[in-house]
Symmetry: C2
Subunit: 232 residues, 2 copies
């Protein structure tokens, strides 16, 4: 049953393939009368994803889309992540020792709680329905803030709000990346307008962890990733 405000959902939109698919899935399959989207500049090397977020938000006909400037995090996390620190290279997945994969160099300290907290503030003030979060099962290996437990406990905190508790919903939390691609293909998502590669160069590298997983997901879904991968 829908509650007041539930007709407006707020999507956390990175511009990567998971959150972009979620945006279109929310529009086409979840029945929201109005969608809003929030993206974040936290000093990521792959800020190109933010262009994709803008393009996709417009394509999905959102009521509004904002990119929040959290670029101070890059400086504050000083050396804390290969995603924000120019002096730390983004290693290929094969170069990350198994023991380090529980929290790999591409993990950004507490990033997802920061982004979800800001988005929850926005949703609460704007009287919006759920906060839609594109976390999926395949990221759980290395990112505690992409797990079902994380979403559940975060909702446990937010539920203490006495007037307008915001709920985080993660419809893909038990899916694999290939399942997400299949949903997106069905919805005619333009994956050429998504960006995943962590290395932030002009073209996707095909080697960093997220490229490897993305390529595998497309392969598993039986299609070719429309992004060019020059070295492959």
């Amino acid at each position: 049953m829908m509650e007041p405000g539930d007709e407006k959902a707020l999507v956390l939109l990175s511009g990567g393939m998971d959150s972009v698919t979620l945006l279109h899935y929310a529009r086409a399959r979840m029945g929201y009368a109005m969608l809003c989207a929030l993206s974040f500049d936290y000093g990521q090397k792959h800020a190109r994803e933010l262009e994709m977020a803008r393009w996709q938000a417009e394509a999905a006909g959102v009521a509004w889309h904002r990119t929040v400037d959290l670029s101070f995090l890059k400086c504050m996390l000083n050396g804390g992540s290969a995603l924000t620190d120019e002096t730390i290279p983004v290693p290929p997945l094969s170069a990350v020792p198994p023991a380090d994969r529980v929290q790999p160099p591409t993990y950004v300290p507490n990033r997802n709680m920061v982004l979800l907290s800001v988005a929850a503030a926005c949703a609460e003030a704007g009287r919006m329905g759920p906060l839609l979060y594109g976390a999926h099962r395949q990221d759980a290996y290395g990112y505690w803030d992409c797990t079902r437990e994380f979403v559940g406990r975060l909702n446990g905190v937010l539920s203490l709000n006495r007037r307008r508790p915001v709920r985080v919903q993660a419809p893909f939390i038990d899916m694999r990346k290939a399942d997400i691609v299949k949903i997106g293909l069905d919805l005619k998502v333009d994956y050429a307008r998504t960006w995943s590669c962590y290395r932030g160069q002009a073209e996707a590298c095909g080697e960093c962890p997220t490229c490897v997983e993305r390529l595998a997901a497309f392969r598993e879904a039986g299609v070719t990733d429309p992004l060019p991968y020059p070295r492959h």
Copy 2:
């Protein structure tokens, strides 16, 4: 028992009397070899508290103090709080109907989770010990994000971190404001260099909820608040 990193604590320092007392309490009574402090500009009308935060951080000899610019929140929360919106007056406590006191106009949507999340990111990346939070019992009536339950559940989220879970500690969580004043007087805290009034004028109003509670706390502690209150 101290764990590695526990010798460095990060204090959430608003510049109000509670967090300022906590800063000096952490330095004098909690045995941290190093203290760092974080303040936040979220577009609050009473940004004057940030000057006090800077002064007190220096007085306490912190290793570093940063004021993080989150002023985009003011715009994002658009009309969501009397603390940030110029068109919403800060009412005297007596003018807030009892039914509204569970989440009064001076509540800022999800603010404390945003601030604590950013601080936790900073503490995690900087390999710091606990995050010290000045919440106390007397704020629990109206602010779900100042309660013992909130701190407990937030720690439940953070504990999922697989390498460096940050802990939030709120040493004053079961105290009343007068207890905090007594601790501060004992530590010779200069309360003339703290700021509480929500109205953000040149002098404290003595009428807004936080002024009323502050004045009562000093009265209860048997001393006079050193701030001038022109109308009283």
